[in-house]
C-alpha cells in the first residue's frame, strides 16, 4: 500500500518549478483567526485549489514528528499523499504512537531510541496521532492533495506564491470540530489578502503542562536518585 502512490519526486518538483516559472505569480495571503476571540490561530492548514485548469498534488515528501518532553513536534504537519513520516523519540520515557484515523491505522509499539521505520501516508485526509501511555500527547498529519498549502505560524498568517487566478480556499484547524475531518471552504483570488475567522467547535485540547501526579513522580524520582 505504501508503495502504490510512489512517483519519482525530483521530476515532479522540476515540473512544478517549470510551471511556476512559466506563469505570472501572485502572493496570496490568508490570516486565520478565532471567530470567538479574534486571536490569530496558529497550526491552521490553508490549502488552495486553482479553479481553472488542471491541478495536481505536489510530489510526496519525507518528514518527521519528534516526541520531546512528552509532546509531538510539530503539532500539525501537512504533507502531500505518499509522503513518509518518521517519529523519533527524544524523551527519556517511552512512547507508543498510534492512530485510528481513516487515512491510515497504525501503531508503533513502545520505543525509546530505536525509532521505528517511517510510515507512508498515501491517502488524503487528516491523521490524528496519540501516545497510548500519554493521553495528553496529540499531533495531526494533514495529507492534502492541494497544489498549494501551508500551516499558519503563531501570527495566524500564511503567504502563498500562486499563479494568478481564482482559487478554492480550504482551511483546517485542530479545533475546528472533534472529528478533525472537516474543512472550512471558501474562495480566494491569487493576489487576495484574506482574513478568515473560524468558529472553533472542538473540545478544548488536553493541557500541556506536567500534571500534579507527574510532578510528584518527579519529586519521588529525585528523592530516590538523590541519595
Amino acid at each position: 500500500m505504501r508503495a502504490s502512490g510512489k512517483r519519482p519526486v525530483p521530476s515532479l518538483i522540476l515540473l512544478a518549478l517549470l510551471l511556476l516559472a512559466a506563469m505570472p505569480v501572485a502572493a496570496a495571503g490568508v490570516t486565520v483567526a478565532d471567530a470567538a476571540t479574534g486571536q490569530p490561530l496558529a497550526n491552521a492548514v490553508v490549502a488552495l485549489y486553482p479553479r481553472a485548469g488542471h491541478s495536481s498534488a505536489p510530489p510526496p515528501v519525507r518528514a518527521s514528528i519528534v516526541q520531546r518532553r512528552a509532546t509531538f513536534m510539530p503539532h500539525v504537519l501537512v504533507v502531500p499523499p505518499g509522503s513518509r513520516v518518521s517519529f523519533p523519540n527524544r524523551d527519556t520515557t517511552r512512547h507508543q504512537v498510534y492512530s485510528f484515523s481513516p487515512p491510515l491505522t497504525f501503531s508503533l509499539n513502545l520505543y525509546l531510541r530505536e525509532t521505528p521505520p517511517p510510515v507512508t501516508f498515501d491517502r488524503a485526509g487528516v491523521e490524528v496521532l496519540g501516545c497510548n501511555i500519554h493521553d495528553h500527547m496529540q499531533a495531526f498529519i494533514v495529507i492534502s492533495e492541494a497544489p498549494f498549502s501551508a500551516v499558519t505560524a503563531a501570527d495566524g498568517r500564511v503567504a502563498l506564491e500562486v499563479p494568478a487566478g481564482p482559487y478554492r480556499l480550504r482551511i483546517w484547524h485542530p479545533l475546528l470540530e472533534d472529528t478533525h475531518q472537516q474543512w472550512w471552504e471558501g474562495q480566494l483570488d491569487a493576489d487576495e489578502q484574506r482574513r478568515v475567522a473560524l468558529t472553533l467547535r472542538a473540545s478544548p485540547p488536553p493541557r500541556d503542562e506536567p500534571s500534579e501526579l507527574a510532578r510528584h513522580f518527579q519529586q519521588a524520582l529525585q528523592q530516590g536518585t538523590a541519595p
Binding site: N132, A214, H216, F217, A220
Partner: protein
C-alpha cells in the same frame, strides 16, 4: 391592697407560674427531643458517610482495575523503565483522578510512586495484608499528613508483574458531596496524638470555616469525645459527632459530622417565640377576664359598702342596691337585717334614755325636752312636781322591793290620770312630774288626783299610804324657763312638804327667798372667817332687885350685800345645811375670849349661849367646850347653855347624855323657849337643867291675855317646884316686869332692861349703874 388588685395579682401569678412551668417543661422536652433527633441525624449521617465511602471505594477500585488491565499500561509496566513507569503512572493516575499513585513490584517494593521513593517498602501494612489475602484492598491511609482512600490492585501481564496503588484524598468535594446527601456539615479531620501547629489536614465544612474552633475540636477528638455520642461543646454552635477512619502511628483520621445548633433548634426557638406570644396573649386575656370578673364581683361590694356607710350615717334604705344572689346577696340581706336591728336597738336605746326603767315613765331629760318644747310652743301649761314624803322610810322599813313597788304603783296611777294630763315623768328617786295642758290645775281635778294618789298601796296585805307633797307652777305665770319652772315647782313642793299640805302652788317671792337662803348658806363659812359675824349681849337682871345677873349672847351677821341677817333665818339655815357646828364653835370661842377679856377688866360676868339641836347631840361638845374654857382661863360656871325643847326631843337619850356631861363640867344648862315645843314634864325631870326660860310669846301677851298669865304663873310655879330658876325674856314694859316679879320669876330679860349690846358697850353699860348680883 384592694381585693380587686389582690385577686388580679394572684390570678396573674398563678397563670404566669403555670405558663412558665409549662413553657419550661415543653421547651425543655422539645429541646431535648431536638437534640436527640439531632444526635440521631448525626449518627445516621455518619452511617451514610461510611456507606458512601465504602461505595466510593468500590467505584475507585473498579476504575483502577480497568486502568490496571489496560494494555498500554501493562506494556509500560512491563518495560520496568523508571521514567516510563512514572509517566504512565502519572498519566493513568490522571485518568482515574487519583491524588497518589504507587507501583510496587510483586513483593511490595516501590518501583515508582508519587509520594514514596522507589526502592522503599509499601508502608500500608494492613492494606498490603488485605491485598495479599483477597487479591485487592481498599481502605483509608494517612500519608504525608493527608488522608487518602486507597486502592491496591495487582497488575497482571498475565502473570503478576506488580501492584498498582492509587490514593484519593478525602477532600472538600467529597465532603461536600456527602454533606449534600446527608444534609449535614461533613468534614475530614486529621488529628495527631499531640496536636502541633494547628495546620493539620482538614477538609470539608470545617475547612471552609463553617465551624470555628477546629483546635478545640481536635483536642476533643484527641480525648475521645464525639465518638460515642454527639455533643455540644460549650460555646460551640455545632452539634458534633465523629467516627474514626484510621488510627495509625502518624495520626488519626476522623469523619466529623456536624449540625448547626441554630438550625437544629430552629423549631425550638420558633416554638419558644410562639409560646411567648401565646403566653403574653393569655396574660392579657386573663388580666382582662379577671379585671371584668373582679369588677363584677367588687361592684356590688362597693355598693354595699356605700350602703353600709349611709346606714352608719343614719340613713334608712328601703332596698339594698344589689341584685346579686349568693354570698353578695347574703351580705346584702345581712346588711338589711342589721339595719332593722340597728333601728330596734336605737329605738330601745332612745326609749331607755328617755324613760325610767323601773316605772317606764318618761325620765327627767325627757321632761326637760318636753317642757322646753312646750315653752317654745307658748301655750299655757302647768307643771305639778310631787315627791313622796319619807320615801326613805318606806325603803328602810319595808325594803327596796316594796319601795320600787310603791313607785311602780304610783307611776301607774299617774299615767292613768284623766286629761288635761299630757305626760307623767319620773324625775328623781321619789319625785314625779306631771305636765298638764291647762294654765292652772283645777281644784276638782286636783282633788281627784289626790284621792287617787293617796289611796293605800297594798301589795302584800301591808297597806302603805304614801304621803305626797305637790308643788305647782304655771306657764307663763311663773316663768319662761324650764329650769326656773322646775325649781319653782320644787320650791312650791318644799313649801307643801314643810307646811304638811298636800298641794301648794308657787307664790311670787318664794323663789327669791329661796335664792337668798341659798346665798346665805353659801356665804356662811365666809362670814365666819371674814368677821362678818359678831356677838351682842343682852343683859339679864334679877327680878326682885333689878341687879345685873348676866347676859345672853346673841349672834349677829352683817352680810356685806344683804345687810343685817336675822339670827332666826341664818341659824335655821345653818342647822339645815350642817354649818351649825362651825357656828357654835365660833360662838363658844368668841364668847369665851370675851369673858376672859372682861375678867381681866374686873367684870366677872355670866353669859348664856344658845345651843342648836345639832350641838345637843354632839358628843364632842363637852370636850371642845372644856378646852376652850381652859384655853381662855374662864370658869365653867360663867357659861350657861340654852337648849330648846325641840332640840332635845329629836334624840332625847343622846341629848341627856351630852347635857349631863356638860353639867358635870360645871356648865349651867337652861331650857330655852319653854312652852312652845312639845314639853314633856317627865323629860324635864330627867334633864340636868338649872333654868327654864319662858318663851317671850307668853311674856309679851302677859298684860292682855289671861291665858298667858296663867301659863307664865304655872310655869314659874312648875319651875320652882322642880327646883329650877325661871327666866322671862321679852320683858318690854314696866307692868310686865312688875307682874313677873310678883309671880316670883327669878330673872328678867328684855328691851325694858336693855337691848342687846355690842361687847365693847358692856363695860360702859355696867358702869352706868348696873349692879352686879353676886352669885353664890
Amino acid at each position: 391592697m384592694s381585693f380587686r388588685r389582690r385577686l388580679l395579682l394572684i390570678m396573674l401569678g398563678v397563670v404566669i407560674v403555670a405558663q412558665l412551668v409549662t413553657a419550661v417543661a415543653t421547651l425543655g422536652a422539645i429541646r431535648r427531643d431536638e437534640l436527640i433527633r439531632g444526635g440521631r441525624e448525626l449518627a445516621v449521617g455518619l452511617d451514610v458517610t461510611r456507606q458512601l465511602l465504602r461505595e466510593r471505594g468500590r467505584q475507585l477500585r473498579d476504575n483502577v482495575a480497568i486502568l490496571a488491565a489496560d494494555y498500554g499500561f501493562r506494556s509500560a509496566v512491563a518495560t520496568r523503565d523508571t521514567a516510563t513507569l512514572a509517566s504512565v503512572l502519572a498519566n493513568h493516575g490522571e485518568r482515574a483522578g487519583a491524588d497518589m499513585v504507587i507501583l510496587t513490584d510483586p513483593r511490595g517494593s516501590i518501583m515508582a510512586g508519587t509520594h514514596l521513593a522507589p526502592g522503599s517498602a509499601l508502608p500500608f501494612e494492613s492494606l498490603w495484608q488485605q491485598a495479599q489475602q483477597h487479591g485487592q484492598a481498599v481502605g483509608v491511609v494517612l500519608q504525608d499528613g493527608q488522608p487518602f482512600q486507597f486502592v491496591l490492585l495487582p497488575v497482571r501481564a498475565p502473570n503478576l508483574i506488580g501492584w498498582i496503588g492509587m490514593g484519593f484524598v478525602l477532600d472538600d468535594s467529597l465532603a461536600r458531596e456527602i454533606g449534600q446527601l446527608t444534609r449535614l456539615s461533613v468534614s475530614f479531620v486529621v488529628g495527631t496524638a499531640a496536636p502541633q501547629h494547628g495546620d493539620e489536614f482538614v477538609s470539608g465544612a470545617l475547612a471552609a470555616g463553617e465551624g470555628a474552633g477546629i483546635g478545640e475540636l481536635r483536642q476533643g477528638l484527641a480525648r475521645g469525645r464525639y465518638l460515642e455520642q454527639s455533643r455540644f461543646e460549650p460555646g460551640s454552635a455545632q452539634l458534633t459527632r465523629a467516627t474514626l477512619l484510621v488510627d495509625g502511628a502518624d495520626g488519626r483520621v476522623y469523619t466529623v459530622v456536624q449540625r448547626s445548633r441554630s438550625e437544629l433548634l430552629a423549631m425550638f426557638y420558633n416554638l419558644g417565640w410562639q409560646m411567648l406570644v401565646i403566653f403574653l396573649l393569655t396574660l392579657v386575656l386573663i388580666a382582662v377576664a379577671v379585671a371584668l370578673c373582679v369588677r363584677s364581683m367588687a361592684r356590688p361590694l362597693v355598693r354595699l359598702a356605700d350602703a353600709a356607710r349611709r346606714i352608719g350615717r343614719g340613713e334608712r334604705l328601703q332596698d339594698m342596691p344589689v341584685r346579686e344572689r349568693g354570698e353578695v346577696g347574703l351580705l346584702a340581706r345581712t346588711l338589711a337585717g342589721m339595719q332593722q336591728d340597728l333601728d330596734e336597738r336605737e329605738r330601745s336605746l332612745l326609749h331607755q334614755t328617755r324613760h325610767d326603767q323601773l316605772t317606764d315613765l318618761a325620765n327627767r331629760s325627757c321632761a326637760q325636752q318636753d317642757i322646753e318644747a312646750a315653752v317654745h310652743q307658748g301655750r299655757p301649761f302647768t307643771l305639778l312636781r310631787l315627791a313622796i314624803s319619807g320615801f326613805r322610810h318606806i325603803n328602810d322599813t319595808f325594803g327596796y322591793d316594796m319601795g320600787d313597788r310603791v313607785l311602780v304603783t304610783l307611776a301607774r296611777r299617774l299615767r292613768a290620770l284623766p286629761p288635761p294630763l299630757r305626760q307623767a315623768y319620773r324625775i328623781g328617786g321619789d319625785e314625779f312630774l306631771l305636765l298638764l295642758d291647762v294654765a292652772q290645775a283645777e281644784k276638782v281635778w286636783l282633788t281627784g288626783l289626790l284621792d287617787e294618789l293617796f289611796r293605800p298601796i297594798d301589795p302584800q296585805g301591808t297597806p302603805i299610804r304614801p304621803t305626797l307633797s305637790l308643788g305647782e307652777v304655771n306657764f307663763p305665770a311663773h316663768g319662761h324657763d324650764t329650769w326656773l319652772l322646775l325649781r319653782r315647782a320644787e320650791i312650791a313642793m318644799a313649801v307643801a312638804h314643810r307646811t304638811h299640805c298636800p298641794h301648794r302652788r308657787y307664790e311670787e317671792g318664794q323663789d327669791e327667798q329661796h335664792q337668798r337662803q341659798l346665798k346665805l348658806v353659801r356665804d356662811l363659812q365666809q362670814a365666819v372667817t371674814d368677821h362678818q359675824l359678831f356677838m351682842v349681849y343682852q343683859p339679864q337682871t334679877a327680878a326682885p332687885t333689878g341687879c345685873l345677873t348676866g347676859f345672853e349672847a346673841l349672834m349677829r351677821w352683817q352680810h356685806p350685800e344683804l345687810g343685817f341677817i336675822p339670827p332666826d333665818e341664818f341659824i335655821s339655815l345653818a342647822e339645815q345645811s350642817g354649818h351649825m357646828t362651825l357656828l357654835s364653835q365660833w360662838m363658844i370661842e368668841t364668847v369665851c375670849r370675851q369673858l376672859a377679856e372682861w375678867n381681866t377688866q374686873g367684870h366677872r360676868l355670866r353669859v348664856a349661849i344658845n345651843l342648836s339641836a345639832r350641838d345637843v347631840v354632839d358628843p364632842t361638845l363637852a370636850d371642845r367646850l372644856e378646852q376652850v374654857l381652859l384655853a381662855h382661863d374662864v370658869a365653867a360656871d360663867q357659861l350657861t347653855l340654852e337648849v330648846t325643847e325641840s332640840a332635845i326631843i329629836q334624840d332625847p337619850v343622846m341629848a341627856v347624855t351630852v347635857l349631863e356631861r356638860l353639867r358635870r363640867a360645871g356648865v349651867r344648862i337652861a331650857i330655852d323657849d319653854y312652852g312652845t315645843g312639845y314639853s314633856s314634864l317627865s323629860q324635864l325631870r330627867t334633864l340636868p337643867v338649872r333654868e327654864l326660860k319662858i318663851d317671850k310669846s307668853f311674856v309679851l301677851g302677859l298684860e292682855e291675855r289671861e291665858e298667858d298669865r296663867i301659863i307664865v304663873r304655872s310655869t314659874i310655879e312648875l319651875g320652882h317646884n322642880l327646883g329650877l330658876e325661871v327666866v322671862a325674856e321679852g320683858v318690854e314694859t314696866e307692868a310686865a316686869r312688875q307682874l313677873l316679879a310678883n309671880l316670883g320669876c327669878n330673872y328678867l330679860q328684855g328691851y325694858l332692861i336693855s337691848r342687846p349690846l355690842p361687847a365693847q358697850a358692856v363695860p360702859g353699860w355696867i358702869a352706868d349703874g348696873a349692879v352686879l348680883e353676886r352669885h353664890p
